[in-house]
């Protein structure tokens, strides 16, 4: 026989090498399995699914950006905890709204300082607010038609052409954070769309907030460090806050393993099984999922048929959708979320009526319709993705006799169609720009969202009149009545079907304190501490 022993010996070598390598890999892994919360260097890790474009307050309007800006910038007014009913002082120590609701006067606080130590001045305020308005970034509408003027070194006057009682509720928006205008201007900040400061503001915050930006990456993580110069009474607790972009499913594992201390986007399903010394904060969010049926017969002969809309409205199994959304979610009775003034009471919510739906479909004269339902495929709201909702709606409507073809698209593509009013059926959500029902008037015909449903001005005079009335009302009672009326009419004949308000489930390590869900900025990092 031929000799082969050399092969065996030589052959063993790679195996030995391999084993050593695998061991090295494992030992590396084991040593750094977790960081105990708080104590070690006082680092807080927040996991969230990023919806982040920028840290420039003048441009930001995405939830993650608002979290970052809330921590790094102060606004003139703010809200206390999760209470959105009453704006409280921040950089402004007091404010006064004129009786006609057109002029808001704010008194600046003395002694507030930016992170670089320079004082916050009225000029900074005027520059920052004007910049937001005139740069025409996403949040510029917040200050549409508002004139900003410095009366003296400590007084700012905001003047609107029409009564603007919502303005004090708008000012806390982190998009209206006050910039260190000198630093910002040095880096290209201007008061028009040619502003070039964004890059700078992404690398270093120019605010007076309790934290400053250490590093910023729109796709992976944002690291905040405590602002040692913070002027406020309550100093930042953590030295460092890491906000990481993590899928919701992974968030759950991370927080359970102690790899992170806060998980922001767990769906009801994901929270259901959670245990082991974690705190779960369940709140109904201010997001409202809704279905729209395009009223433009150029887009669809089917969905523009009012009886078809009725069939859809009656055909949807709202309870089933709630079940999908999981704990903490509620059915949206109207387009205005339950915690806002003018929200429709729960008993007025739509109910499923399959027979009624079939009847309506029969009356519509459309037989065996097939419609396309568009929705953003990879977007999740509080851990809830659109996919199962769409699939459930598809199944619901199938029972009625409507064939729904699902056409998910990446959010940008889907958004395009949605904004251009090209969707036959659309599944979307609306988050409030500020905690006031006036926000929702854009659902009226001819308005922003109305147009997206192909609902042109004049298409439904009744609803339009109700919307105008609601917009003009000033007192709380009047407003409440007017908004309720508006929503009832909208529900009756409008193209929108409010579905659910998903719960906001914030899971934190047992040690973390001060967690409050806020409808505008989700979470105020500065409020977080540790036991």
């Amino acid at each position: 026989m031929t000799t082969r022993s050399w092969q065996v010996r030589a052959g063993l070598l790679p195996v030995v090498l391999t084993g050593a390598l695998a061991l090295a890999a494992c030992s590396g892994g084991g040593s750094s399995s977790s960081t105990p919360s708080g104590a070690a260097g006082k680092t807080l890790v927040i996991d969230t699914s990023f919806d982040l474009k920028t840290a420039d307050p003048g441009r930001t309007y995405e939830p993650t950006g608002l979290i970052v800006d809330k921590a790094t910038y102060d606004t003139l007014l703010t809200f206390d905890g999760s209470d959105v009913t009453k704006p409280v002082p921040s950089l402004a120590e007091s404010y006064e709204l004129s009786s006609d609701g057109k002029e808001l006067t704010l008194k600046l606080r003395q002694g507030a300082k930016f992170a670089d130590g320079s004082p916050v001045t009225a000029d900074d305020v005027v520059f920052s607010l004007t910049r937001v308005r005139d740069m025409k970034g996403t949040p510029s509408f917040l200050l549409d038609g508002v004139e900003i003027a410095k009366t003296d070194d400590t007084t700012i006057t905001l003047t609107s052409k029409t009564p603007n009682p919502a303005l004090p509720y708008i000012l806390p928006n982190p998009a209206l954070g006050i910039l260190n205008s000198k630093a910002a201007k040095e880096h290209g900040a201007t008061n028009d769309p040619n502003d070039k400061a964004e890059q700078y503001l992404n690398s270093a915050s120019a605010g007076s907030g309790p934290y400053t930006i250490e590093s910023f990456n729109v796709s992976s993580q944002v690291v905040l460090k405590a602002n040692a110069q913070y002027w406020g009474a309550k100093k930042p607790y953590y030295d460092k806050v890491v906000i990481r972009n993590v899928e919701s499913a992974t968030q759950k594992l991370n927080v359970q393993r102690g790899d992170s201390q806060v998980a922001l986007n767990l769906s009801g399903d994901q929270v259901a099984g959670i245990s082991g010394g974690l705190q779960v904060k369940r709140t109904a969010s201010a997001y409202v999922f809704f279905l729209l049926a395009n009223q433009d017969s150029g887009v669809s002969k089917v969905t523009s048929n009012p009886k078809f809309v009725e069939a859809v409205r009656k055909g949807i199994d709202y309870q089933g959708l709630l079940e999908l959304a999981g704990e903490g979610s509620t059915q949206a009775s109207g387009i205005i979320p339950s915690m806002f003034l003018g929200a429709l009471p729960a008993d007025q919510a739509a109910k499923r009526d399959v027979e009624g739906a079939k009847a309506a479909l029969a009356q519509s004269g459309v037989t065996a319709p097939t419609v396309k339902l568009e929705y953003p495929s990879e977007l999740t709201v509080n851990g809830l993705s659109f996919q199962p909702l769409a699939e459930r709606i598809q199944a619901n409507l199938k029972e009625v006799g409507i064939t729904v073809e699902l056409t998910p698209a990446p959010v940008t593509t889907a958004l395009d169609n949605y904004r251009n009013g090209k969707e036959e059926l659309g599944l979307w959500y609306w988050g409030p720009d500020f905690p006031d029902p006036s926000n929702y008037l854009s659902f009226a015909p001819g308005k922003l969202v109305g147009l997206r449903a192909g609902w042109k001005a004049g298409a439904d005079k009744d609803v339009e009149a109700a919307a105008d009335k609601a917009g003009a009302a000033v007192t709380d009672d009047d407003r409440k009545q007017a908004y309720t009326d508006f929503q009832q009419k909208l529900n009756a004949t409008g193209p929108f079907m409010p579905l659910i308000q998903p719960g906001q489930n914030i899971v934190t390590a047992a040690s973390v304190t001060g967690v409050e869900y806020h409808p505008v900025w989700t979470i105020n990092v500065a409020d977080l501490g540790a036991k």
């Binding site: 026989m1 031929t2 000799t3 082969r4 022993s5 050399w6």
Partner: protein, 267 residues
Amino acid sequence: MTAAQKTAALTIERLRMSIGGHDVLHGVDLTLEAGRVHGLAGESGSGKTMTGLAVLGLLPHGSRASGRIAFGGRDLLEMPARELNEVRGAKIAMVFQDPATSLHPMLTVERQLTEHMRHHLGIGRKEARERAAGLLAKVRIPGPEEALKRYPHQFSGGMRQRIAIAVALACEPEVLIADEPTTALDVTVQAGILRLLRGLCDDLGLAVLLVTHDLGVMSAVADEVSVMKDGLVVETGPRGQVLREPRHPYTRSLLDALPVPPGENSP
């Protein structure tokens, strides 16, 4: 030629071999003597190459051999792997058919000439180098010192075969197995190699097993000739007898198939 010495350098007895269950050798008997060239002839597939490989234990994957290959009083087939490795290259060397593939294309001539010398003879780099240059000179490679630094692809086919022969001779073996050493070469080059082989055999007293299908080559250098057919040696004898008065019909048919009758083609 020292025909008087009749010492058997290597004896193959009843060698049988199978590859993957197919018998390729059915009991081959051969005797090699020092200072003599033993020609092994046959057509392709007759098993002549396998016989040569079996001597060194270089059988293809999945093959089995039995019988006896006696060398220096021991049976190579029974020899432990390690000891057999000491015989290979040192006592029994081999030259293959195609010098283009039997030399490693990525190693210098020096490395291929010296590595087994150093391994078998335990000599140093310098000494091995000197011997290597001497060997190249012996196989008539021009500029041996320079040639050591070059790679096989920088030589012509004939030169490569000379190098391969030098490699085989490096450890002064007793037996040389040459498997179709000139088949891949042109006739004018072949003539040189045949002369070289014959000369080495005579000068060094090597026992050579020359495997070839070319009866002309056989006639030119072999002292004894064996003819193989289907895994068996059908005829063995002195060159003149086998080629001029073949006893076995197969040998006769081989000779008859030649384009020119023997003895008629000298110019």
